[in-house]
Amino acid sequence: MLVIKNGRVYDPINGVKGEIRDIYIEGGKIVGKPEHITKDTISIDADGMIVMPGGIDMHAHIAGSKVNMGRKLCPEDHYEHFRVAERGLRSGVGSRVPTTFMTAYRYVEMGYTTVVEAASAPLVTRHTHEELRDMPSVDKAILITMGNNEILMDRISQGKIDEARDIVAWLLKSTGGYGVKVVNPGGVENWKWGGNVESWDDEVRHFDISSRKLINTLVTIVDELKLPHSVHLHGINLGLPGNADTTAEIIKDIPGRLHLCHLQFMSYGRNKKGGLRSDAWTVAEVLNGHPNVTMDVGQIVFGNAVTMTSDGPLEYRIQKMTGHKWCNDDVECETGGGIVPLEYKIKSVSSAVQWITGMELFLLTKDPWQLALTTDHPNAGPFFCYPQVVRLLMDKDYRDHFISLLPPKAFKGSVLRELNREYTLYEIAIITRAAPAKILGLPEKGHLGIGADGDVAVYDPNQFGKRKCLCSFKPCLRALDFPSWVIKGGEIVVRDGVILRDIPGVVYRVNPSYDGLIEDKIREDFERYYTLSFDNYPVQEEYLKDTKGVACQ
């Protein structure tokens, strides 16, 4: 048994708002106060400390084919950022795209214990599982890209919705995936001919189906399958001036549950010259009226980033704009992808507009349960900069200082300067723990009630900002960055900010039910269009040993 004594506990799912409580953990789970405290009970003195459930990153690119391409692409990212193998822990390198062990260690060092890989093409999800096996001490889940899947689009355009539903379920099962990711629905398919989609009613070439029909059908299917997590949507027109309109349109139109990821990139207006301005106001307004829709922000962090996404045409546009090195990867029958490294500069008007847009989304969204903190790592910035974002949300003076550093032009049409809201620690616990757990549908995560996983982060408020930030960004101040203790599954993995050991993490997956005949129905198409045998396609059990099923109900 382990007991964390006298901490100020923030557990929003159970309504605990900073009260002094003791937390008991046994067998990896949170338990009630036992009648007798046994002798071998380990006691952690959390007097004066902040106790929260382990953090949950519900949208990050941490493992798999595209991420690894990014690692390989950016050796210059790694040279100065390294970790020596010692005390039984593994070595690693990297800042924007860290190696697998390094990724795990950086999350744990921040008090995060659950991470979701945001996009994996079914064809290469075996690879994603392989990398997750080398990412200890955090629990993980994989979202499977389906927004441009040709076999699925065939069925939807033929009106065979039952078959489409079976295919979605079959894809999740055969990849060991957790949820359905949709990226630029139809746009990526069109990119394979050099095109894209610009409105929800644009056609997907050769498939006689619109982007809207595609996303609406998938949302309905996911609800019918009762998946714990809704469709996870990266919409259309990402990064383009005026895209707040297409975003608002889909929020209003969608027939079910929907999660919008890195919404900051999707909430821009158009200034008089056609350039970027923040229109978070419009999007937040619509979002506030649609509780069926949730989002994560994808906040910009100034400094180096690597954009990597399944949105192939987007990355093509970014390389045209920047001239930076560019990878593109078209994945047969399923999706695409691209990578461009770039820097968000504090003196650049467009970077500043993006930063402002994210901040406004945080501050204008009324219900924190609809929102999760992310930087769409490494797209808008690296995940280890979350403590800086937390500080910006909690500390108006710091935010004002930051605002004073930005080019004034960037504030045209922005309401940020007038927003005085400061997040409380309780609200921070919502957007970094409780809300992502609820949105993902992970009942054992994000809280400290009886039966929850024994994942706990204990922070000493006097130690905020203790860890030297990697971002080498002078105005960086941090909060909740240096946990004194991190407990994962009841085991102490961090003490005084130092990682003690690797422990295994699980990979969450779902097993929705479907008509097994679907395999016979798609086998022929599959073997005609893919380049591997149908029987070799599903991820074999060997890769799923550390997975844990979450019920669909």
Partner: protein
Amino acid sequence: MKIEKNVVCTFCGCLCDDITLTIENNNITKVEKACANGRGLFEGYDPHFRAPRVNGKEVAFPEAIKEASNILSSARYPLIYGLSSTSVEAQRISVQLAETIGASIDSTSSVCHGPTGLAMQSVGESTCTLGEIKNRADLLVFWGCNPLVSHSRHFARYSAMPKGRFISEGRKDRKVVVVDVRRSETAKSADLFIQIRQGYDYEVLLAIKALLKGKVLSATEVGGVPTELLQQFVHTMKSCRYGVIFFGMGLTMTKGRDLNVREVFSLVRELNNYTRFSAMPMRGHGNVTGADQVMSWLCGYPFAINFSKGYPRYGPGEFTAVDLLSGREADALLVIASDPVAHFPAEAVRYIENIPSIVIDPVESLTAKIATVYFPTAMYGVDCEGTAYRMDSVPLRLKAPLERQRKSDEEVLEAIFEGVKEC
């Protein structure tokens, strides 16, 4: 007798996964659908138990492990090399071993597509999986590669011949162009063969890029190719729907090396302003792509890695095997499933003969023949399971159709890993 279907062939980077094997008494008696190379791999394989050897004498396994562990832990600068014909599982433990003993670790990439990795790191890479080529590509360019010999089913299964979703007629719907210094077997089956002078790939690629951008060349020929023909080639590339350039050692092994490939990548990038285009290296060994992948996710770099400071450092030309051996820096060598004695320049080979070496290989290679310690192991994908990555980075599960009678590479490496910890 048993029939095993959908077996993956690990001979080359195509990883064809449709092979049918007939097995009698733990022997492969019939191989269907494979090419000659693939058949050779399965038919020529003898799975019988063979004991490890130390200094040419057969010994018990623990004794061989002890000797190997001693060699590695007493070395000041050990080198781990090979990895392209083994499973991801063995590659992972190799990296961990390198980390533990502070070794350099390098794969056969350094003598095949290492320069391609360098080119990718400087400009990026527009690429795709093989199925996109099957379904869409109406123009295939093979530059400095000879798939009819090295990747015999590439044409039939992935590129020139197959019918795809948007290529209803197969070969008829595609144009095949070969660029090479010699009229290879592949060149003979092309619609257009462009013969360039040896060593002029870089110049020809630059000229093509200039023409693509609308520049007028004053030269009437570049690298032995008439400018007019290059102009025609540029027109062909610009006007296709989906094109691809496959390239091989003809670019990476010759003058210019990574710069040649860099020009391919930047040409393809430029072509995407007119139509859709991809580039793909013709990766040779069955899992050389996996070696790149594993080292990238564990070390951040695809090859040429050194752990002497306890974390991975990158140094092509410095931590690459040929340089460490011909420069007489490494003082012990661990080779996994490759044959540097057969494939390295003579000076490096002579040095290998002077240092203690350990070889882990299912086949008795020329390197195994002179090794201090030799472990005959099971063959991945024949009598040993595992994972391998196809040339387009699609991972596949390898089955073990034969019963295993020898240790796997992974098991030997794990035992050595435990062994060095005890030394």
